[in-house]
């Protein structure tokens, strides 16, 4: 290795260190932005080092330059556009698309290397090459399906049919078996079959999973992409790819585990599918007991004369895009000296941290967003708990065994002195079960779309208090 190569490898290690430091700074909302900047500068360093390699090597053709620059401009432009215009509620889809292209690029690195090296490739490189091709391809097609389901372009219900599992297994066996064979005797033609099988497996893996489970799947695919990138690093002998890929692989894996734990389900159970059937507006069913229904004025009176209010946002808030409306109501109440805070359940909404991002978008200061463990003891001292489009995360059934959400920690909303629930109907949430909170004598139901309900309540409070 020449001095040049030495310097380049050290610069790559430095870039990877920037990624670590960046993630470290993400531990705290106050330093998170700086973390993103540090990480970005690491990336810029790595790209600059790569350019240096290319220039230093003299091997690139003019066509090569044009292709590379054109590709980067087209891709970069598309990425920039998508990132700038995406709605906060569509974040999971976008993350999924980035997983897709990342995994795809990693697979292409290996495919090119394999074709280029031809028969001269060593067995040990072959192993990582084929792992990269398979994992990258699965991620590519799987992530596109996941994004499609979330966007509503693909049927978000679990799509399954007899023999589906058999097809799945066959595809996996073909991809892995043929991949193993290719390690011994390389062949570009057979590689195509591996790629096709892996792509098909990605589709058949994600199709049977319900739309509501997609965030977990996306997080898992994020880990896959990281692993594919690390394998690409093995293939081309680049430590920056290995380190960064492993970082993402590990972090994606942990995040997936945390999400599954918070939902009290196993990752296996999610992948096998058939649980989260998307939004269940249709699944009307009522718990036994009488329900008290109120309107905006009733709700406004309760709120205006409370001294402590806790807002409990859930998926319905995101679905109705009512984050600005809730922030406006909260500010109005605060301006009247009422103590207002938000109770954020770890899996409220449909992706980790979903509520925090939404409310942050509506300029809610993050110290007002309380995590479950912090806020639960406060419900007993609360006059009104205002539940907005949250269902499962408030369901006392979780405290009993034998229900779909048994064992999931919940927000102790039922301890508040009175409870107002905003939702459109008695419909179920993600877990598809009745919520006993709604028949609690302390609870009043305000049936409406969250955005409309909040706007009306804010108006009613204003009229009431002048």
């Amino acid at each position: 290795m020449s001095v040049f190569d030495w310097v380049i490898q050290l610069i790559y290690v430095l870039a990877a260190s920037c990624f670590v430091l960046g993630l470290h700074l993400m531990n705290n909302p106050a330093t998170a932005r700086r973390g993103n900047q540090v990480s970005t500068s690491g990336m810029a360093t790595a790209v600059a080092a790569t350019l240096a390699i290319i220039v230093h090597g003299h091997g690139i053709t003019t066509t090569g330059w044009i292709v590379m620059i054109a590709g980067a401009l087209v891709g970069g432009g598309a990425g920039m556009y998508a990132a700038r215009t995406v709605q906060m509620t569509a974040m999971p889809q976008l993350v999924s698309m980035f997983n897709a292209v990342g995994g795809g690029a990693a697979a292409l690195v290996a495919i090119h290397d394999y074709m280029h090296a031809g028969a001269t490739v060593s067995a040990s490189t072959s192993v990582t090459t084929l792992l990269d091709v398979i994992i990258g391809s699965v991620t590519f097609s799987g992530s596109i399906i996941a994004a499609g389901k979330l966007q509503g372009v693909i049927n978000s219900a679990p799509v399954t049919f007899p023999g589906a599992r058999l097809i799945n297994m066959t595809l996996a066996v073909v991809a892995i078996g043929l991949g193993a064979y290719l390690i011994a005797s390389p062949s570009a033609a057979l590689l195509t079959i591996v790629i096709v099988a892996a792509l098909a497996f990605g589709v058949s893996m994600v199709m049977p999973i319900g739309g509501a489970d997609m965030p977990v799947v996306i997080s898992l695919l994020n880990a896959f992409t990281g692993t594919a990138v690390a394998m690409a690093g093995f293939v081309i002998g680049n430590w920056a790819l290995i380190i960064a890929g492993a970082l993402v692989g590990a972090s994606g894996g942990i995040l997936t585990k945390l999400m599954a734990d918070a939902m009290n389900r196993s990752i296996r159970n999610i992948i096998v599918g058939g649980f989260g059937t998307g939004d269940s507006v249709a699944a009307i069913a009522g718990p036994t007991g009488s329900v008290r229904s109120i309107d905006a004025d009733d709700a406004a009176i309760q709120l205006a004369y409370a001294s402590k209010v806790i807002i409990v946002p859930g998926y319905g808030l995101a679905a109705a895009q009512a984050q600005h409306e809730v922030a406006a109501l909260a500010e109005l109440l605060e301006s009247r000296g009422i103590d207002v805070s938000y109770a954020i359940h770890p899996v409220a909404g449909r992706m980790p941290g979903h509520m925090n991002v939404l409310l942050a978008e509506a300029n809610v200061p993050y110290p007002l967003l309380k995590e479950m463990d912090e806020i639960n003891p406060e419900f007993a001292r609360t006059d009104v708990a205002l539940v907005i489009g949250a269902n499962d995360v408030t369901n006392p059934a979780a405290r009993r065994p034998g229900t779909a959400i048994s064992g999931m920690p919940i927000l102790d909303v039922d301890q508040a002195k009175s409870i107002i629930v905003i939702k459109r109907s008695m419909g179920h949430g993600y877990a598809g079960i009745d919520n006993e909170l709604y028949v609690d004598p302390k609870t009043s139901m305000y049936f409406a779309d969250a955005k409309k309900a909040l706007t009306e309540m804010t108006a009613a409070v204003k009229t009431l208090v002048g």
């Binding site: 990425g79 690195v109 090119h112 992409t225 690409a232 890929g245």
Partner: protein
């Protein structure tokens, strides 16, 4: 002295897995979405690999692969960082625009800020 590449790569991979494991297990739930998208942008490092394809490509297939790989990876890098930055910019201690409800909110925020510090480890 020299070491065989695969052995070194595996070792580096294992250590980096540990780093990833340790660094993430501290992130509070509040930041899980930005975290996912930050991790997302980091795997955009595959751009470095994609760029190198263009060096060895020498036929039409190679150039097509180089183009697509560069485009994919660049979309990942640029999009990932921009969207993460956009999200994080929204996390504020106090609202930026003063509003009628601002004063009590700010007091509240400050008080909560310190109590938060208290309960965090």
């Amino acid at each position: 002295m020299q070491y065989p590449a695969l052995l070194v790569d595996v070792t580096i991979f294992v250590l980096a897995l540990w780093v990833g494991f340790e660094v993430i297990s501290k992130v509070p739930a509040t930041l899980h979405t930005p975290l996912m998208s930050a991790a997302n942008s980091i795997h955009g490092i595959v751009l470095a690999g994609a760029m190198l394809i263009a060096v060895t490509a020498n036929n039409a297939v190679g150039y097509v692969i180089a183009f697509i790989a560069a485009a994919f990876a660049a979309a990942n890098v640029v999009g990932g960082y921009v969207v993460t930055g956009r999200m994080l910019k929204m996390f504020k201690r106090r609202p930026a625009i003063p509003s009628p409800g601002d004063a009590p909110a700010a007091v509240n925020a400050a008080a909560n800020g310190s109590s938060r510090k208290g309960t965090a480890t």
